[in-house]
Each structure stands twice: as structure tokens, then as C-alpha cells.
Symmetry: C2
Subunit: 379 residues, 2 copies
């Protein structure tokens, strides 16, 4: 297999009651599949394993191609690969699809082993900690003793933070990017409205929808979310008030503006690759994310177990997870005398900057990982 080709793998666990995955809601998940991909080789000293966490709509396919004629590469291919910022000639990179997802790991559109039918809305409501607990099983399966780093943007960053608190001995560092230690009421509110659009969709059938049915509700949820991923400035630069098809207004309700056309396309395309039920479960998991909750809202206290080094990155125009939220995290870590590097990157791209500012981010990550590995090997 050539360097830039990758094969998705499956790790199945939890067949027995004892082996089942315990969830925060109190239920257990049986016969759990984790879809994952790996890049590069685990070094003999085991110091080069990096876990990449995907965001809400991402998947395990973070780099390379599955087949030579694939039109698209993995979602962070500019960042990760042979000779790239996160150099897979040097590091052993792992990325897995979250549970609750719809890209290979067990989620609401998987078969419920108890009924032989799709879970749909019988799937248990999961949390970010549940996702991480499943990844911990994958770590054991892959015989990784300690991650050199856990890297993630947005919801991926939430998972990275959760790892650092729940398994403080299992990583040298974490890199939370464009993320937050607890979802804000504004973000909860946007999630709520998106979910209401799905729940109200007459094609959704209480989650028991048929493949092929148009999922207009999901498309609306995605269009709404998309606005929160951009910034006022980037939308001005990208679309302005430009009209799409005609030099003048249609005086109708079809799309007139380029921005409307863009949203329509993004919403439609999303329904072709994503599951409405997964969208409900994953957004709910982010709503529930608040690492300070167990410490009565005291973020520093909640972060006390943490032992690893941090590289925290935010983006100036990100208004979904604004820099101030990263600063709250950094202040709490510093209060605990943790080792933290922090950078607020100046960017007009809004929340999406974590996927677009590859060069700026790549150099930081590359240097940080190199230094971390040197330090580990020097011990």
C-alpha cells in the first residue's frame, strides 16, 4: 500500500455484559464497533502515537485516500500525512469515528443487538465522556501505552479535554483547538433550534425514517450551524450581497443571494452524507459538555487531575467558541500550574478557521509535538 492510501479498520467490543460500554446515562452499550484509521507506524519506544479527534460532522478518515481514484482526501489531509505538518513518517496517527456517529462506529442507525432492528431513537443519549471511554478501549486494542498527544478542534477539542481529565496518565499532551470547556447557552440554543427542525420534519418519522427520504429538517439544522461556523466578516468577503442567477431580485422566495445558494447546497449535500439521528445525539452530547460541572462550576478544580502539557489555540473571529472561552481554560490551567502554551490566531474565517488556517496551525502543532517527543525521549 502506498503511503497516502489508507484502509478503514473496525474494532468490535462489548459482546459480553462485562465487556459492554458503560455510559453516563446509566445504560450499557453492547456490541460496539469503532471505525478507525491509522497512519504511519508505532515506534518501538511507543512515544509517537497521536490521537486525532474529529468535530461534529467529521469521521475517522482524516488523511489520505481509500482508493487511488477517490476525488477527496481525508478531512485534515493538508495537516496530516507523509512529510506534512503532522508527519506520518514520524508519528503514528490514529483517528476514530465517535460512537453515536454515522460513519462506521456504532450509532443510532446501527442494529440494536437486542431487537435486531435499527436503534434509531432507542439509542441511548451519549456524552463526550462516553465517546472518550470508547476510544480508551481502542487505545488498549492498539496496545498504545501513552499518547504523545491528543489533538482536536471544536467537538474534537472537547474530547481532548475530557481525555486529559479522565485518563491523566495516558497522554503527554493535548491540543484543544477552537473549543470550550463548557458549551455556552448561545451554542446550546443554536443546537436546540437545529434539533427542533429535525424533530418537526414530517419525513423524519420519530427517527424511524427510510433511507432515501428527504431530510429537510437535517438540511435546515446544517444550514443554521453553517452560519455559526463562519464569521460576519468572512461572509462579507465570500458572498457580500451578491445575487446568484440574476442581476435583480426575483421578488419570490427562492434563492436570490449567493449566500442563500451556498447554504442550500451545503444543507442538501449534508443530508446525503449524514444521519439526522446522529445529528440529534451528537449535538446533545456537546450541549451536555461541561467539564466544570463535577466541580460545581470551578474550572480549575475540575482540571486538577490534569498532568499533561497543553497547546491551546483559538481564533479571533470564532464567535461560536470565542477566544474568551479558551482563555478561561488557559487561566484555569495556569492556576493549577500546568504547562500551557496558548495562541489566539488572528483570522477572519470564524470557527471554520480550525480547518482553514492549516499553515499557521500546522507550524505550531509540528513544533509542539517535536518538543514533546524530544522531552519524552530525553527522560
Amino acid at each position: 500500500m502506498s503511503d497516502n492510501l489508507v484502509k478503514p479498520e473496525n474494532f468490535l467490543f462489548g459482546e459480553s455484559e462485562k465487556d459492554a460500554l458503560e455510559l453516563d446515562c446509566g445504560k450499557k452499550l453492547h456490541s460496539v464497533n469503532i471505525r478507525y484509521e491509522t497512519y504511519g507506524e508505532l515506534s518501538p519506544d511507543g512515544t509517537n502515537a497521536v490521537l486525532i479527534q474529529h468535530a461534529l460532522s467529521g469521521d475517522a478518515h482524516v488523511s489520505g485516500k481509500h482508493a487511488p481514484d477517490d476525488k477527496k482526501s481525508g478531512w485534515w489531509d493538508e495537516m496530516i500525512g507523509p512529510g506534512k505538518y503532522l508527519d506520518t513518517n514520524k508519528y503514528f496517527v490514529v483517528c476514530s469515528n465517535v460512537i453515536g456517529g454515522c460513519a462506521g462506529s456504532t450509532g443510532p442507525r446501527s442494529i440494536n443487538p437486542k431487537t435486531g432492528k435499527l436503534y434509531n431513537m432507542d439509542f441511548p443519549v451519549i456524552t463526550i465522556a462516553d465517546m472518550v471511554r470508547a476510544q480508551k478501549r481502542l487505545m488498549e486494542h492498539l496496545k498504545i501505552k501513552k499518547w504523545l498527544s491528543i489533538v482536536g478542534g471544536s467537538m474534537g477539542g472537547m474530547q481532548a479535554l475530557e481525555w486529559a481529565i479522565d485518563y491523566p496518565d495516558l497522554m503527554e499532551s493535548v491540543i484543544p483547538i477552537a473549543t470550550t470547556a463548557r458549551l455556552s447557552p448561545q451554542a446550546i440554543a443554536f443546537d436546540w433550534v437545529g434539533r427542533q427542525a429535525i424533530l418537526a420534519d414530517s419525513n423524519w418519522h420519530d427517527g424511524n425514517y427510510s433511507e432515501g427520504d428527504t431530510q429537510k429538517g437535517l438540511s435546515i439544522a446544517r444550514m443554521l450551524a453553517h452560519i455559526t461556523y463562519l464569521s460576519d466578516e468572512s461572509m462579507k468577503n465570500k458572498f457580500g450581497r451578491e445575487l446568484q442567477d440574476s442581476p435583480s431580485y426575483s421578488f419570490a422566495f427562492k434563492r436570490d443571494f449567493t449566500v442563500e445558494s451556498y447554504l442550500e447546497y451545503q444543507g442538501q449535500r449534508f443530508t446525503e452524507r449524514f444521519d439526522a439521528n446522529s445529528y440529534l445525539y451528537i449535538t446533545r452530547a456537546t450541549d451536555y459538555f461541561d467539564i466544570s460541572a463535577k466541580a460545581d462550576g470551578d474550572l480549575a478544580k475540575a482540571l486538577e487531575p490534569v498532568k499533561c502539557h497543553f497547546l491551546v489555540v483559538s481564533f479571533s473571529s470564532d464567535w461560536l467558541f470565542p477566544a474568551s472561552q479558551s482563555e478561561d481554560l488557559v487561566k484555569a490551567l495556569l492556576k493549577n500550574q500546568c504547562e500551557v502554551s496558548y495562541c489566539e490566531v488572528q483570522s477572519s474565517y470564524g470557527h471554520d478557521a480550525f480547518l482553514l488556517e492549516v499553515d499557521t496551525l500546522g507550524k505550531m502543532i509540528s513544533d509542539f509535538l517535536h518538543n514533546r517527543q524530544e522531552a519524552v525521549r530525553g527522560r
Copy 2:
């Protein structure tokens, strides 16, 4: 009738082809009703008439009560009334429901005189300039020669700006508050998503819905818009991550958070008083609003006809119509050597501040109007 009681009035025009209201879309509107209310008396010298413009979901009932046992007063009752900031003992205040609305003026749920049936989606797509053109007819009907001022927040401010350009000789001043000279692509995008929720609602029936049918789509549109009226900070202060009914998460998709409960309530309540079709038409009118369009995007050039004085007010935490948009307007007016006062009010209330910062705003408006009237009377 006591001072704080007011009777809604109707002004019907456009019965004949010649008298019909010409619209920007090229069509004409016949048998147009304008629902309006007036407060105070027009002074013998005619220098005390103030036109108040309502925002998207507002109406003509801006002050006082219709009956002594009304639970609520008009939507800007704290600002306007006898002895209040906009003192109706001193000023003659007029407020009318916009055409396209659903609070008495002709809109999509009015009878189409050509068919004898509800217009619904046969109602023509209107613009802010069309709304203003209808108000101009009302002005003639009321025998007002010149407005002392035209005052409006949000979409009301758009109407005020449109007046200043289209009828520059008919007002001494305008007070555009928390508004913009052209809707941004971000605001167009939010409107688009809100409308898609209405269009996708299986109860909406292409606009031919029955009274009493639940309008879930409208509720979703309203919930979404509501988030844009608040600020991140005000949502943190008002809701935080507080749970509504239970000390712990439900692990379900019903409302858990106070902010979810608030949105659900606001969305539901809105469907009881507003029309889904009006929502489509009025948001479209705001999308189309760009006073610079006729001058190829040159705001100063577009504002050249303007003769009146301006008091422009923005709010620091308003991210729907941010202060920078008011500043663009002010700069363009100054370039034209117009008389402009500008204030960015420090407030955490977001866009809603124009309805909540009554004292700060009231003092400014009161002083400004007083000075304007003194100047007029001194001529």
C-alpha cells in the same frame, strides 16, 4: 377617553386603479388598509408630528391600552406616552402597521379583492420602500405636512432611512436605532434558514394553512431569530447552563436547559400572535433592503438626497446589526456634510437593547426632539 387609552384606526385607499399602491416588484396593490394609532394632538403649527416605525414583529399599538383591563400596554409604552420621554402631551405620535404585516394592515392573510380569497402566497413580494410608500399615503390622509421626526429600531430604522432618501422634504429629522443601511449576508442567511423552516412545515400547505393549525416552522424561525436578538453575554447572564426542571440531565431530547425552555416558550407564543406568511414577506423585505444598491454600493452617493438631521444609535453588543454598520451610515452622512449625532450605547442586551435600554435611549431622543422642534419653531 383617558390619556392612556387609544383606539386603533383604519385608513383604506387604493380602491381605483389610479389610487392603487405601486410596488417595487412592478405590481399594484388594491384596497390597501393601513392600521394605525395616534397619540396626542397635532399642534396648530404642525411641527410636532412624530412617526414611529415598528420592527419585524411589531404593530401599530406602540403605547397605551385599547381597554382599561388590557394586561399589556403598547410595545414601546415605557418610551411613549403622556409625560414620558416621547411626551404625547407635547408630540403628536403616529404608528402604523406595515403592509405585509398581520396586525391590521393589508398583508398575505388579507382578502385579495380580485379573488375574494386570502392572498396567502399570491401576495406580492414587498420591500421596505413599499412599506414607506404606503405610510406616505397615511401621512397625506392625516394632513401632516412634515414629520418632526421619524423614529425606528431595527426594521423600523430601515424604514426611517428609506423615508429620508425617498421623501427628503417631508421630515426634519430621522432617528435610526440598532439598524443598518443594508442587510448583511449573515443576517440574510439567518432569514433564509428561518424561512426554510416555515416552507418545510407540512402544516403550512404552501401558505394556505388553516387557522388553528400548529405552525411549528414559524416557531422554529422565531426561536432562531430570538437568539440573534440576544447577546452571548446576556444569554450567559440570563440563563447560563441552568437546568429547568431537574437537577440533572434528562438524557433525552426534551428541554433540559432553561435557555431551551425560554426559546420553546417564545416560539410557541409567537405562533399565537403572528402569521407565518407575513414572516416570509417581512423578512424578505429586509433581505432586499440596501439603500446603496441604486448608487452601485456607494452609501454616501445613495444618501445624497437626504436633507434632515440624524440621530443614529447603536448598541455595543448588538451582533445582528453591529455598531460598525451604524458607523458606516454615519461616515457616509458626514461625507455628505449632513447633521449627524451618533451614539454607541454600551449595553449587554444585544439587538434587543433598542427595546430595553429605554432610559438611555429615551433621554437622547427627548433632547434631540426638543432641540429639533425649537429649531423649527425658531425659523
